[in-house]
């Protein structure tokens, strides 16, 4: 460990620490655009200026290593003057289109300007006009005028995805980032460049112009798109959920997430949800409150002996829900519990970065819950008993992310061989048209709990804003179907 003094605070840092990291560790503010903890050092923005005691000139914090006894500061008038001018140079060709820029509110340039800005720019030359609204494929839009050439995105495609689509072309004040011949930037991790862009040069097609960022709240949770379990932040307000961004976790996803995971909020929003329970009757269908429908199922179950009832799980629910569900399955007395494995051929795939073939957040948790109860019925047994008519009623804890269950239609047809099929699902699906009961479930942002990822790491998910307030958790649904009442306030 090395001792050093940052703006008068004495701290200890590990050997090899850069001064900018020492500032972060000491909780001291330091201006910077091009430095990113997940990328190599570029040293191009020249904003993280510091004064080192004993050194004649200012240095950049991102590319200066801490040495024993080093005394550094960035609060002197000399440093602030340098930062102020550095900022003014960045703004020479940057358009002042903040009112129509999607980055406004979370823009590095705006933030720095509020602190160090000149406010009265002394630049008499005209701004260099560059290309705007450059289409980089289905995910990203590029505005080369807003770019301050920090090169974070270029380093990202070089170092993280190793696809090297981006480069800095031309020179001097005509330099701009881009892809060769505007080829689409469509690797599986492309949207990360939008996150790391400190200005509004790279924006997400999916999110741009949907919301002003200052109207959004956000909470951290775990991506439910695959078994990696990337830590993410979900952004929402009273109008719904709008975007997902990665959150740093050095053991799981570092600073990144895949582009597929960016879509995990879409099924949550009201227009895509199952709002009421639907019961099939002789006259057609009947809409019911979710709780009432589950109680209805409870009375239906009473018509059957316990070994005529089967429960099918998907790996899309929380550990806590599985635990509760198992308790009520005990009460129902059935041992016929099955695990629906989606896309089993690609189950063990891994792209070497983050994406895994197991498109469930909690397969490990489900397997553990089943093992704990010694429930080891095979899928073949389920098929055989459905064909023989031994199973009369099937309860399916359906998938929340239906797009990862391409065999949904086929499986529903199989389960429909039973006299009664109860499907628990957060969203409707054409395949569910003829099921006897369809009961709305909460989504992963509407409940507390935890997921166990592929490596056995248990991570918490948070309850954020409710979209369908009457929807049930898996535990609640099983409790009601087992004939118990819900306790007020006990819900997950």
């Amino acid at each position: 460990m090395l001792k050093c003094t940052v703006n008068g605070k004495e701290i200890e840092v590990a050997e090899g620490t850069m001064v900018i990291e020492a500032f972060k560790q000491a909780g001291e503010d330091i201006a910077h655009y091009c430095w990113h903890p997940g990328l190599s050092v570029a040293g191009v923005c020249r904003l993280c200026m510091i004064e080192v005691e004993g050194a004649p000139r200012l240095m950049i914090a991102c590319n200066t290593q801490v040495t024993e006894g080093m005394v550094v500061s960035n609060n002197s008038a000399k440093v602030q003057e340098a930062v102020k001018w550095g900022l003014d140079f960045h703004l020479i060709n940057h358009p002042l289109d903040c009112p129509i820029c999607d980055q406004a509110g979370e823009c590095g340039l705006q933030d720095q300007y509020m602190k160090f800005g000149q406010y009265d720019p002394e630049m008499a030359e005209r701004k260099v006009k560059k290309r705007k609204v450059v289409d980089l494929g289905r995910k990203i839009v590029l505005d080369t005028e807003r770019c301050i050439l920090c090169s974070r995105c270029v380093r990202f495609t070089d170092e993280v995805t190793k696809t090297s689509e981006l480069g800095i072309f031309n020179r001097g004040d005509r330099s701009e980032i881009g892809t060769h011949e505007d080829k689409p930037l469509d690797n599986d991790y492309a949207v990360n460049v939008v996150d790391i862009c400190p200005v509004g040069a790279l924006t997400s097609k999916d999110f741009r112009f949907k919301q002003r960022v200052w109207y959004l709240d956000n909470d951290s949770t775990v991506c439910n798109g695959c078994s990696t379990g990337c830590n993410v932040n979900v952004y929402y307000n009273e109008k719904g959920y709008f975007r997902v961004k990665p959150e740093h976790n050095k053991d799981i996803n570092d600073y990144w997430m895949c582009d597929k995971g960016r879509n995990i909020f879409k099924h949550v929003n009201k227009e895509n949800r199952l709002l009421k329970a639907i019961k099939k009757t002789e006259a057609g269908t009947q809409m019911m409150a979710p709780g009432a429908a589950a109680k209805d199922v409870a009375s239906l179950i009473k018509n059957y002996s316990s070994d005529q009832v089967a429960v099918v799980f998907t790996g899309q629910y929380t550990n806590e829900e599985y635990e509760d569900a198992m308790m009520y399955i005990d009460k129902l007395g059935t041992k016929k519990v099955y695990h629906w494995v989606n896309n089993s051929e690609s189950f063990d795939d891994f792209d070497g970065i983050l994406l895994r073939g197991d498109k469930n957040p909690n397969t490990a948790g489900l397997i553990k819950a089943l093992e704990a109860k010694s429930l080891n019925s095979t899928w073949e047994q389920l098929e055989a008993e459905l064909n023989s008519g031994a199973i009369k009623l099937v309860i399916l804890a359906g998938p929340e992310l239906q797009e990862y269950f391409p065999d949904i239609q086929e499986k529903i047809q199989l389960f429909s061989k039973a006299e009664n099929l109860v499907v628990l699902s957060s969203n409707p699906n054409p395949a569910y048209r003829d099921v006897d009961y369809l009961i709305p479930m909460k989504t992963f942002v509407e409940k507390k709990g935890s997921f166990t990822n592929f490596a056995g790491t248990v991570q918490k998910i948070q309850k954020m804003r409710l979209v369908v307030s009457q929807a049930l958790s898996l535990g609640e649904a099983m409790q009601l179907m087992a004939g118990d009442e819900l306790q007020i306030g006990a819900s997950l």
């Binding site: 270029v154 090297s164 689509e165 480069g167 072309f169 031309n170 020179r171 060769h180």
Partner: protein, 159 residues
């Protein structure tokens, strides 16, 4: 159809062996293309990327950085006027305007008869004799409007 001559391909391969990193061979490789075609097309960049196993964006970075690589076909005589500091101070920019007016083209463009292209370029390394212009590979130094008239007149006589 882009087809780089075999001996040029071989030359590029040997240049790649010559330096510590193959990226160092990007400039010689671009020169090989330009010597054959007079300019470097986007197909050429893709070809070089495949040949050298370097991302095409990286080759394009080098290609667009230097003004000596032509991004489109040029006329028979490519007049490259230096507008870097010394030449600009000695009237390089005004001379460019003069040439353009005389030939009725914009900087970067080629005359209708395909004879002349005019472009502004970065330092030609001859600051002591500013303002300077290059016609293809030939230097013209200590320029003024009268000298330009002479040069263009003599070039127009050539076929």
């Amino acid at each position: 159809m882009f087809q780089l001559a075999n001996e040029r391909v071989e030359k590029i391969k040997s240049e790649m062996q010559r330096y510590e990193t193959k990226q160092s061979a990007i400039i010689p490789a671009l020169y090989q293309v330009q010597e054959q075609y007079g300019w470097v097309s986007k197909e050429a960049l893709d070809f070089l990327a495949d040949l050298m196993e370097i991302p095409v964006a990286e080759i394009r970075e080098v290609f667009t950085f230097y003004t000596m690589f032509n991004q489109k076909p040029t006329g028979k005589f490519h007049l490259q006027v230096c507008t870097n500091i010394s030449c600009s101070m000695a009237g390089g920019r005004e001379l460019t305007d003069y040439i353009c007016k005389k030939l009725n083209v914009k900087p970067g463009d080629t005359t209708a008869d395909g004879k002349f292209s005019v472009s502004k370029v970065e330092c030609l390394g001859s600051c002591d004799t500013a303002p300077v212009m290059q016609n293809n590979f030939e230097y013209h130094e200590n320029l003024n409007e009268a000298k330009i008239d002479q040069i263009i007149e003599s070039l127009q006589k050539l076929n």
